[in-house]
Symmetry: C2
């Protein structure tokens, strides 16, 4: 029995009852002979409430102070969890990100972990303690200021600690049973995936699946830490994310892992761009200089009569205003005719390593959409993913049609509870 | 213009509006040319809410984790306050107790400050910042664990920082206008005291006055840091507590500083104690071994016929049960007949350095009580204080009678708002 890192999201520790339930589960792992390190998020809506308060006192909260504020949430949950464990007769010690040795850069509100030096955690474990660590937070290497890791940061804390402590698994506890072949709120027949490779999970995460964030999976792949995503409300096996299916489990890699969708993006079309070298570069340099992340990019074939073309790209809706303003400012320099902004779009993606060796997948995907009467506006592909942009109104029907077409539907009709994962 | 330390209690920063009001006051001090260090308590009832949560997950919260939990409250208020100040266009940085160099012993939940090394605060000030420090918390010297200073700890943080930074004054902002000659909720004609000596303030604090805690005043006296207790809701001068009245102010030391009362104590009478050497020692050794603090002690003259005497003492009601149990266990060894427990008592104290040179004070005190029909059960005196124990029902009438008898009543009838001071 080795060391396990368990991470519990905000919905799992939303109140005193939740904390006691989680404490019992942690003690069970300890009784089974494991050394246990627990990473915990802030209780329920604590973080949102703190953000509300910050906005009330200052319209633009400052980075350093904002991080100090937000990290109070995990201090509360980790201390309560340690108390609840002690109340069950086991020894527990809680540690802030700083005490746990989570060293980050100095980019407040979205710091990156640059080192983990878990000396105090190791000592606590060696002395027979369960170690409870505040997720989502660290301390900056140069200034020794408190930092936060941004959305999904607690998952990254858990994987980073698992890597630094050479854990045998990082268990991510949440309020769903695992990773599904599609969002069960949209597809009633979505199936829980027993095992999925890091690569497919990365594509799902970047295509709209919210169970695990891209950064956390990327970190786990780099250090080869198996992740087990599972429910804190049941004792069921969840979804294993790793390089290889575990030796004692016969899990065949599916051709298609799942269908993801994302309605958080908007589309900008730059109309009437001269079809000559340097034009696309000028557009995307403008976007990059404003630190806006873009996703899909498509350039139409130019009309021979005018020598003009259109360039479309997608980006988070939240950045739409900024992108439009930036491009308008450079209009004369870039030399386009106009901009079109559309936030009524959805992206639907089919993910699976099997499509590399199964040439019919792309055709089957488009046929399924066509049969469902869904129009395709943009297409983008990677080696193991195909994504299309459609009207937002069509998204549910499109996802269901593709899910059925690729034989992903479950045989049973059992209801699945699904929600967010905290952070 | 020198350095000032300002401390704001929980009631002053109870919500976003309060935080913005306090931020404005801090900025005003900065604009007046001061270097400003601010010590802040947790918002409103935050601490009590956290204690409630702790009791829900564990009946006996553990020291180290309990401290970690409680310190989250000040992290929230200090970060919000720093944001609010920045929003007014001034630079502010917040610091935890640990970051501010508040070094304590390892006694969780009631740690004592053993050193203050405010290097980061000094740097922040030198760079033109306003420094915001979390009250009530520190870090233990040996284990580097987070500690809390117990009730009133934020005031002690403020005075300790003022001493370490050689501040010209420590301003304690609260929701009352200062220290009064009696509790204004009981005595409508109580007057605000303009200046009071450390010694008289210490006696008032240990006699039930709640505006400043004994430990904080003791610390200020040791390092000769003037304290200015004042309201965060008005711009009025409050009460100065110092060795000497300030040079530019003509304040005559009153014979009597004020009347304090305390209804938080109970009385235990040990009945039928053999009147021989070692008996009292055996009783109070038992009490001390159980870490119970006692206040007044009175031994009656023994009855010649029986050779037995009674010993009475007062102690916090919260420790009553523990004291009774401890004494019962030692009954055979100590050899008393029975125990009587009475928690319907009140202590009334008259405080003033002037009583050293005014021999009529004691007599006047007893006459005032007698005229008001209040029976005296126990008497205890120090050089500058007389205290009596009466029935709890008589306390308000007794305080008013003494206040009037010593000429402390104010001429005006203006209403005074009075409340707690946070912690």
């Amino acid at each position: 029995m080795g060391l396990v890192v368990q991470k519990y999201g905000g919905s799992s520790v939303a109140d005193a009852e939740g904390i006691k339930r989680v404490a019992k589960r942690i003690v069970d792992a300890k009784k089974n002979g494991h050394q246990v390190v627990v990473v915990v998020s802030a209780m329920g809506d604590t973080t949102d409430e703190l953000i509300d308060l910050a906005e009330q006192v200052s319209p633009i909260p400052a980075g350093r102070e904002f991080d100090m504020l937000l990290t109070a949430g995990e201090r509360i949950s980790m201390a309560l969890l340690a108390m609840a464990i002690k109340n069950l007769g086991h020894e527990a010690q809680s540690f802030t990100g700083s005490q746990a040795g989570v060293i980050t850069d100095s980019v407040h509100n979205k710091a990156r972990i640059i080192d983990v030096t878990p000396g105090r955690i190791r000592t606590a474990l060696d002395e027979g303690n369960i170690a409870i660590v505040a997720g989502f937070q660290g301390v900056s290497q140069d200034k020794k200021d408190i930092t936060t890791l941004g959305r999904g940061g607690s998952d990254t804390t858990a994987v980073a600690l698992a890597a630094a402590l050479d854990a045998e698994v990082c268990e991510i506890y949440t309020d769903v049973d695992g990773v599904f072949t599609a969002d069960p709120r949209v597809v009633k027949k979505a199936r829980k995936i027993d095992w999925i490779s890091f690569e497919d999970m990365l594509e799902l995460a970047s295509s709209g699946s919210k169970v695990l964030l891209h950064r956390c999976v990327e970190y786990a792949r780099r250090y080869n830490i198996p992740i087990h995503v599972r429910s804190s409300f049941s004792g069921l096996q969840g979804t294993w994310v790793s390089n290889e299916p575990r030796g004692d489990r016969k899990v065949e890699q599916a051709i298609i892992s799942g269908v993801a969708h994302d309605t958080s993006e908007a589309k900008i079309t730059v109309v009437g761009v001269p079809d000559k070298p340097g034009e696309a570069a000028a557009i995307f340099r403008t976007i990059a200089d404003n630190e806006i992340n873009i996703d899909m990019v498509v350039q139409n074939v130019s009309a021979a009569s005018t020598g003009l073309t259109d360039i479309s790209f997608t980006l988070p809706k939240a950045e739409g205003r900024k992108a439009i303003d930036a491009l308008e400012k450079q209009k004369a320099l870039i030399g386009f005719e106009s901009l079109r902004y559309d936030d009524q779009i959805a992206k639907i993606s089919l993910v699976g390593a099997g499509m590399k060796t199964n040439p019919g997948v792309t055709a089957g995907f488009f046929e399924a959409l066509s049969d469902a009467g869904v129009n395709i506006e943009l297409i983008s592909t990677s080696e193991i993913r195909i994504s299309v942009v459609t009207r937002a109104d069509d998204v549910n029907e499109a996802v269901r049609a593709v899910h059925t077409a690729f034989g992903l539907d479950s045989d049973s009709d059992e209801a699945v509870v699904y929600g967010g994962t905290g952070r």
